[in-house]
């Protein structure tokens, strides 16, 4: 192994972002799951609030949404929302097969 090299980063190299480490991640995942569970539970209620990337959710889940957005990074929130929408769309497509026959 060669000689140690000086840090090349212009920013403070000892600044570690802890929100990607295990603890913060786990907290984020938990909040995310809680929020989506809430949305699942209240599917019959009319979605009034707007989340990001086109996800609507009922106002009952506002609290868990706030928690979710607090604990997770903004880009992660968008990513999870988008994924959730995609899954829901696929699910809807799969469930809808029964209502349409012979198509």
């Amino acid at each position: 192994m060669a000689q140690p090299q000086e840090a090349y980063a212009t920013r403070n190299p000892n600044n570690i972002r802890t929100d990607v480490l295990a603890e913060a991640r786990q907290a984020c995942y938990k909040a995310r799951d809680a929020f989506y569970a809430c949305v699942e539970k209240e599917t019959d209620k009319k979605p009034t609030e707007i989340a990001s990337v086109g996800l609507l959710y009922p106002s009952d889940c506002k609290a868990s949404r706030a928690e979710f957005e607090k604990l997770c990074r903004a880009s992660w929130v968008n990513h999870f929302d988008r994924q959730y929408c995609k899954n829901r769309r696929v699910q809807r497509l799969l469930d809808d097969k029964e209502s349409r026959r012979g198509v």
């Binding site: 192994m1 060669a2 000689q3 140690p4 090299q5 000086e6 840090a7 090349y8 980063a9 920013r11 190299p13 000892n14 600044n15 570690i16 972002r17 802890t18 990607v20 480490l21 295990a22 991640r25 990074r73 903004a74 880009s75 992660w76 968008n78 990513h79 999870f80």
Partner: protein
């Protein structure tokens, strides 16, 4: 007899001679005061003669021979009508021969194939030199990794879900290999987000998975060059102010001790399958 003579003259193609003979024959053998029963015959002759005469060609040649007349009429054209199809056929045959020869030259016989090179990977040569910095700020090049089996994966610490999952699988598989089969494979994690992933960051991140994972980062250009050599796609997406995600091709590369690519694994492998597959590769190439 005059008929036979006429036929003879026709076969010999002496057109003028034949015509004169005909004329003289008619005059000599059929004088003006001839008997009545012979009247029908000269008319035939004369008609025949007229028929022959009518076949005279405009350039003065007397074509009294119908068979030969037709042939002489088409003689100048025969060269053209035969040359073009012949040329086309020759050209086609030549092209077919060339293609066949080319195929023969390129053929590899069944059973031989690429026995010369032991590398089973077909396609672009993946891998190459790189110069990066590890978590302790030491410079690491590909020469430092020679002599070990290396499982290489690319990712970044700020990945929402895929990155940690991949690292988890990698760590578990390698641990299984180490404990059960005593096979040492060096895990290497190269970050594709070097602007945010400093060595200290990498160290903190990787410590949670497995202390043996070697984390590599470096200048943006160095990382980009290595990603290009390994055909890794990565792109910044979802820019929200300061925060962004990096989309990448999630593949793990297994390199043999000569730093040549042995295999690559996608995200569909879980820990057990991964360890099995790695073991198979290790057994196949016992280069220790």
């Amino acid at each position: 007899m005059p008929i036979s003579r006429f036929l003879l003259s026709c076969s010999r193609r002496h057109s003028t001679e034949a015509l004169n003979l005909l004329r003289s024959g008619i005059c000599r053998f059929y004088p003006i005061g001839r008997p009545k029963e012979m009247q029908s015959v000269p008319s035939k002759r004369i008609q025949f003669h007229n028929y022959c005469k009518s076949s005279k060609k405009p350039n003065g040649r007397l074509g009294n021979d119908p068979v030969m007349a037709i042939e002489t009429q088409t003689t100048p054209r025969s060269w053209g009508t035969y040359a073009i199809p012949a040329g086309a056929i020759l050209g086609f045959v030549g092209l077919a021969t060339f293609i066949h020869y080319n195929d023969e030259r390129r053929v590899t016989l069944k059973g031989q194939g690429t026995s010369s090179s032991g590398n089973i990977v077909m396609g672009p040569i993946i891998g190459g030199p790189f110069t990066l910095v590890d978590t302790e700020n030491w410079v690491v090049t590909e020469k430092n990794l020679l002599g070990n089996w290396v499982l290489l994966c690319f990712g970044y610490t700020s990945s929402p879900d895929v990155g940690p999952e991949q690292l988890q699988i990698m760590a578990k598989a390698l641990e299984k290999l180490d404990s059960k089969y005593n096979a040492r494979v060096l895990p290497v994690f190269v970050t594709i987000d070097p602007q945010r992933d400093t060595p200290a960051q990498l160290r903190a991140y990787l410590k949670e998975f497995d202390p043996r994972i070697l984390g590599l980062t470096g200048a943006v250009s160095a990382v980009r060059q290595m990603a290009q050599e390994y055909r890794v796609y990565f792109k910044k997406v979802e820019e929200e102010g300061d925060d962004y995600l990096v989309e990448s091709s999630h593949m793990m590369y297994l390199m043999n001790p000569n730093m040549e690519l042995a295999r690559c694994f996608g995200v569909e492998y879980n820990a057990d399958e991964l360890s099995e597959a790695i073991l198979k590769e290790l057994k196949r190439n016992p280069i220790q």
